[in-house]
Symmetry: C2
C-alpha cells in the first residue's frame, strides 16, 4: 500500500457527514490543509482555542502499558483536556504519527480505532494529519482546535484570595494504574484488562489508558462566570496548583481530608505499600480539572454539576500571600475530634512519566 | 533547568507584541491552550485553514544535511506552504518537539532560532507547543492555522479541461541540494554553506534547507478567482500533478521544454552525471505551487505576479480524458526546428526522502 492508500485505509469513512457538518468542516482530510468554519447555529462571536500534545513510546507508554488503541485515545484526550481547561469546546483534530518501520499496518489502524473512538466520544472531527516513518519509536502528536465564546476563555492567572479551590474528579488513579501496569508487565505483551479486573485495578488501568477529560464540567463551570482559573491535571495536582498560584499571585492551601480518593486506588496503595498521597499530589495524567471559583458560588456550581451527574470537590482555598502551595494534613484525628493540623509546603515537582 | 524554564528560554520575547496583536492572539504560549481570533480589520467572513507536517531525524534530515536552525525553519515552512496551497494566510503555529536526551539545550534553542526566523518572515505567531524527550531521534511536528476568505479556499479538485498548468518557481533544486549534501557529508558534521558556495551549489543547498513557500503568489492567484486547483510541491511534481489529475478527473500534459530549470541545478546535474529531469519530476520538497488556471487568465496572472517580482511558469495543459499525467519530451530538436515530440506517461511515484 502506498502512503495515500494507507491513510485512506486508516481514515476513510470513520466519521459521519453529519459529524463533519456540525463541526463546520469545509475541507477535511485529503487536501494540502483542512478548512473549517465556526459551526452553524453558534450565537455570538467565537474565539479559537489551540493545543498540541505529544506521546512518545518509552517516554509516555510502552508495549506493556498501553495497546495501540489506547495510545490513539489518550493522544487525542490529552488535547481535549487542554481545550476543556480553557472552558472551550473541542472541535477539530490534526494527527501526526511517526511509525516505526517494523510496525504492521494493522497496528496503525488500531491506533486510529482508539483515536476515532475518542473523537466520537467528544464530538471532534478529525480533519488532517501527517504520517511519517520513525527509525525507532512511535511518536504521536495531536493538535486540537476548539472554540470558546469571545472573551470567556478561563486562564490560569485569575485566582483571587478567598476563592475556593476545586477538582472535577478523583486524582492519583492514573498513576496508580501505571504503577500496577509496570509491576504486572512481562516483556512486550500488553497487560490485559482481564488481569487488572482480577486484581481489582481495572478502574486504575482505564484511568491511565483511557482518560475522560472534563469537557462538559468545564462548559458548565465556565458559563457561570465565577470560575477564576482552570488547569487540567496533566502533570500532577501539586504542579498544576503551583502554576495557578504563580500565574495568579496567590497561595493555594489544599486540605488533605478533602482530596477525592478513589476506593480502588486506596486499596491498591495499601496492598502495594505505597503512600497514596504521592500519587494524588505528584502522579499526573488524571485529566480532571483543577480550578478556583468565587467562594460564594462554590455550592451553586457543585449543585449545577451534580444535576448533570458530574462531581466537583472543593479541596481548599486561595489566600493572599507569596505564591505557593500548601497542604494541610488534617485527616489524622477525625475520630477523636481533636484538631491536629499540620501545614507543609508542597514541592513544585511534577510528573516524570517513566523516570 | 526544569521543563517550564526551558520552554521560556526557547520562546520568551521572541516575537513582538505587535506581531501577536496583528495575528489576533488572545492567549499565547503558557496556558493549557492558546486562544486566537480573526485578526482585527479583516473584511468579510473568514474560514480557518489547518495543516500539520512532521520532520523526523534520519528520515527527512540528518546531522550532516541540516543544522538545527534549518530544521526549525523547514518544519514551519512546510506547513506555511500547505496553507499557501489553499490560498490562505498563515497565522498561528503550534510546535511539538521530541528531543533526544543527549541534546544540549543550546541545540534546541538553535532549532527555535530557525523556527522563529521563518515565523517572522511569514508573519506567523507561534502560540503553543509541547516538548517531550525522545529516546533516539529528533521529531518536530508543527501545526499551522491560517485564514482564507469564506468559500475561497483553492482545492486540488477543480481543474478543468482547457486550463493552463503552472508552477510558481523552479523545481528540482531542493533534491539536487540534498544530493550534493549526501555526497559531501562526512560523519556527523553539518556540511557548511561555505563548502557549497565553493562548489557552486549554495542555492541548491538553501533550497533544501530553507525553502521559501509561495504565500504571496498564492494570495495573488487566489484573489483572481480563475485558479481552479492548487497543490504545493512537497512530494515531487509528478506526484502532485497526479493528485490534481485524480482529484479533478482530468489528464495533465506537461511539456518538458517549459519546465523551469535552475542554472545551478543544470550545472550540478551535468557534473554529477545525473539526469536533471529525475530531480524535477520526482524530487520533491521544492515547496513551490503547482496549479491550474483558466487559460484565458494565464497571461494576466503571470503579469500580476511579475508586477510583484514573482515568477510563474505555464508548463502544460489540462485535458479531458482518463485521470493521469503525461510528459511531452519536446526539447530535443529545437535548433533544427523539427518537431520531435514524444509523449510518455509519468509514473505516480513520489518523493522517498532518504531512500
Amino acid at each position: 500500500m502506498d502512503e495515500f492508500a494507507s491513510i485512506r485505509h486508516w481514515t476513510d469513512g470513520r466519521q459521519s457527514e453529519q459529524r463533519l457538518r456540525e463541526q463546520g468542516v469545509v475541507v477535511g482530510i485529503g487536501d494540502d490543509a483542512a478548512v473549517v468554519e465556526a459551526p452553524p447555529g453558534e450565537g455570538g462571536a467565537l474565539q479559537w482555542v489551540l493545543a498540541v500534545d505529544t506521546m512518545v513510546e518509552t517516554v509516555h507508554f510502552n508495549a506493556a502499558t498501553m495497546a495501540e488503541a489506547d495510545v490513539g485515545w489518550k493522544a487525542l484526550a490529552a488535547n481535549v483536556s487542554d481545550i476543556a481547561a480553557m472552558g472551550g469546546v473541542p472541535r477539530h483534530a490534526l494527527v501526526s504519527v511517526s511509525v516505526p518501520r517494523a510496525w504492521e499496518p494493522a497496528r496503525i489502524r488500531r491506533l486510529y480505532d482508539g483515536l476515532y473512538a475518542c473523537a466520537e466520544h467528544y464530538g471532534v472531527a478529525v480533519v488532517g494529519g501527517d504520517t511519517t516513518s520513525s527509525p525507532a519509536q512511535l511518536v504521536v502528536a495531536v493538535t486540537v482546535v476548539g472554540t470558546v465564546e469571545a472573551g470567556r476563555a478561563v486562564r490560569r492567572s485569575g485566582a483571587q484570595p478567598g476563592d475556593a479551590v476545586f477538582v472535577t474528579g478523583p486524582i492519583g488513579m492514573a498513576s496508580a494504574g501505571l504503577h500496577y501496569l509496570l509491576a504486572a508487565a512481562s516483556g512486550e505483551q500488553c497487560v490485559p484488562l482481564a488481569a487488572a479486573e482480577a486484581a481489582g485495578t481495572a478502574a486504575l488501568v482505564q484511568a491511565h489508558r483511557r482518560p475522560a477529560p472534563s469537557v462538559r464540567a468545564a462548559r458548565v463551570l465556565a458559563a457561570r462566570g465565577t470560575v477564576t482559573s482552570l488547569n487540567d491535571v496533566s502533570d500532577g495536582l501539586a504542579s498544576e496548583a503551583w502554576e495557578i498560584a504563580e500565574s495568579s499571585g496567590v497561595k493555594l492551601t489544599l486540605r488533605e481530608s478533602q482530596l477525592p480518593m478513589s476506593g480502588s486506588m486506596a486499596a491498591y496503595a495499601r496492598r502495594s505499600g505505597v503512600e497514596p498521597l504521592e500519587w494524588m499530589l505528584y502522579g499526573g495524567e488524571d485529566y480532571v480539572l483543577l480550578g478556583t471559583i468565587a467562594a460564594a458560588d462554590a455550592a451553586g456550581a457543585k449543585a449545577a454539576l451534580a444535576a448533570e451527574g458530574l462531581p466537583m470537590y472543593v479541596i481548599g482555598t486561595a489566600e493572599a500571600g507569596a505564591a505557593g502551595v500548601e497542604l494541610v494534613h488534617d485527616s489524622g484525628n477525625s475520630e477523636t475530634g481533636r484538631r491536629a493540623e499540620r501545614r507543609v509546603p508542597l514541592a513544585k515537582r511534577g510528573y516524570n512519566h517513566f523516570g
